[in-house]
């Protein structure tokens, strides 16, 4: 009997656990180590953050689902991995620290035959002084943060109804943030709700982003065919901002958030301050701080993990300038180079480089959107790693038999711009591939037939259906496996 241990129960970890459980049955053991007792459909946190959904609508308890699927759930956080075991035994293991009430802080070792690191990110609010819900800004990164943000929005709307004029700042709280798409969605849902409340005239909304231009989304922007022209996504994004009266500041690194004032540096090296009444600023991500040790107890963390805390996999990590980046730098199997039974998926794997051109200000401040690796690509990674492990266990495969490079996979993304059946809209985008490949697709870097985007109510309907469909799938309801990632 083999034991597969999965660290993390986000989109990639949960997908891997479900597929492993279905394919391996009860002959083998699947263990999920997650510090949270609930599963969260994070894309819908945007709607929690404007008060349209309650946290219960975007979450469910993991334990009953895992019990039904024959998966062992350890409510704990992973502290360290020992891929060679230790002096007393060569069996690899993970040291975990329990987080469930009554056992919080207790440590124990969980042995494994295969390990999938799907820990996701640490929300690094500490990177920017004053950033975060415990200090001077809000967030929608977790359902708890989003609920707190919704309360703040309610208060702000009441103040505007009383005649006050308020400034809302939405965006990224650091020059190295990712998930600009989530900030974009929140900005337009906020605008939509303020308009619905009848106080739009009282609100100034500013989108503050580390993207060098709107529509970059951390993927170096898109080229789209429209009306016989090939146009940059910037043109469409700017069009929406102007239409909805949302101001924007691009190429911004937030260096401090004071109560009611955000301080930032722009790509030209100038320093600015912007007063606000409400600020939702996303934090940058780092790895969760997992450590690694060899059999002798020597710390090998620097070998297994990149300096940002994400795990190195089968990517080309040679440092090179933007002009020399290649699509085949990106990993295909997500296998750890040193340990064949260790994988990292989703946000937990270290990308070889960004997708957007990295920039520095004249003061040396890096302003470079980090590449997104969430949603559909994240789920697909979880799937291929699970299938490779199944092949290794059942058929004795020596190498991973399934691959899913982000340079060979596409992504479908629906960015909400207001939630209402009749008046709502969303930008529906597809891109192929996620990582631009200028050798295969000279000029645009992507296939212009399969890279598309449009705004309309249909996008909102799809986003709403996806919300229910993915919760159904994640709950392991009958036929869940028929729903693709």
């Amino acid at each position: 009997m083999s034991r597969v241990v999965i660290l993390g129960a986000g989109i990639s970890g949960h997908t891997a656990a479900q597929i492993l459980s279905r394919k391996l049955g009860r002959k083998h053991e699947v263990v999920v180590v997650s510090p949270n007792r609930s599963w969260n459909w994070i894309p819908s946190n945007i709607w929690v953050g404007v008060g349209l959904m309650k946290p219960e609508e975007v979450t469910f308890e993991l334990k009953p689902v895992y019990e039904r699927m024959g998966i062992t759930h350890e409510q704990a956080r992973a502290i360290a991995i020992h891929p060679e075991g230790d002096a007393s035994s060569p069996a690899p293991y993970v040291t975990i620290e329990r987080t469930e009430p009554g056992k919080a802080g207790e440590r124990e070792n969980v042995t494994y035959d295969y390990l999938v690191n799907a820990t996701g990110p640490k929300l690094n609010f500490a990177a920017t002084p004053g950033l975060g819900p415990e200090q001077n800004s809000l967030s929608v990164c977790t359902y708890g943060h989003a609920a707190q943000t919704a309360e703040a929005l309610k208060t702000a709307i009441d103040r505007m109804r009383a005649g006050e004029k308020l400034t809302f700042v939405v965006g990224t709280g650091h020059g190295l943030c990712t998930c600009e798409g989530a900030a974009f969605e929140y900005a337009f849902n906020l605008e939509f709700e303020i308009r619905n409340a009848g106080v739009r005239e009282q609100a100034k909304i500013v989108f503050l982003t580390n993207e060098a231009e709107l529509g970059d989304f951390g993927v170096d922007g898109l080229q789209l065919k429209r009306g016989g022209y090939v146009m940059p996504s910037r043109a469409f994004a700017e069009s929406l901002f102007v239409e909805r009266g949302v101001e924007w500041v691009t190429g911004a690194h937030v260096n401090r958030v004071d109560p009611g004032e955000v301080h930032y540096e722009t790509l030209d090296g100038e320093m600015h301050a912007l007063a606000f009444d409400f600020a939702m600023l996303l934090p940058p991500f780092t790895g969760v701080g997992l450590q690694a040790f060899d059999r002798a107890g020597t710390d090998i963390t620097a070998e297994l993990f990149a300096p940002n805390g994400f795990m190195r996999v089968d990517a080309n990590y040679t440092a090179k300038p933007y002009e020399e980046w290649r699509a085949d730098d990106w990993p295909k199997t997500y296998q750890c180079p040193r340990y064949a039974n260790v994988f990292a998926v989703g946000i937990a794997f270290a990308p070889p480089h960004a997708l957007s051109r990295p920039r520095k200000t004249k003061n040396g401040t890096a302003i470079a959107p980090a590449p997104p690796r969430t949603g559909m690509p994240s789920g697909i990674m979880g799937r291929v790693v699970a299938l490779s492990i199944v092949d290794m266990i059942q058929n004795g495969a020596e190498k991973p038999s399934h691959t899913a490079s982000m340079a060979q996979m596409g992504a479908a993304c629906v960015a909400s711009a207001g939630a209402s059946f009749w008046k709502g809209s969303a930008a529906s985008m597809t891109m192929f591939p996620v990582v631009p490949d200028y050798e295969r697709f000279p000029g645009a870097g992507r296939d212009l037939v399969h890279t598309t985007g449009e705004i309309g109510s249909a996008g909102h309907w799809i986003k709403r259906i996806l919300h229910h469909m993915f919760l159904y799938k994640a709950k392991g309801r009958p036929g869940w496996w028929l729903i693709p990632e």
Binding site: S239, V242, E243, M376, A458, W461, I462
Partner: protein
């Protein structure tokens, strides 16, 4: 009259018909089907 800012002048602005079709139920039902087919094709290419 308020003059448009440079950014407003530079940006593409949707016309009346574009805005109408964005929330026109009949047209959006057609787009709903089309976008879903496009996404299914993307899913098939990526799995």
């Amino acid at each position: 009259m308020t003059q448009p800012t440079e950014r407003e002048r530079d940006a593409m602005k949707p016309g009346r018909w574009v805005l109408f079709f964005r929330t026109c139920v009949v047209y959006q039902l057609w787009r709903f089907v089309w976008i879903n087919l496009r996404m299914l094709r993307m899913i098939r290419m990526s799995h």
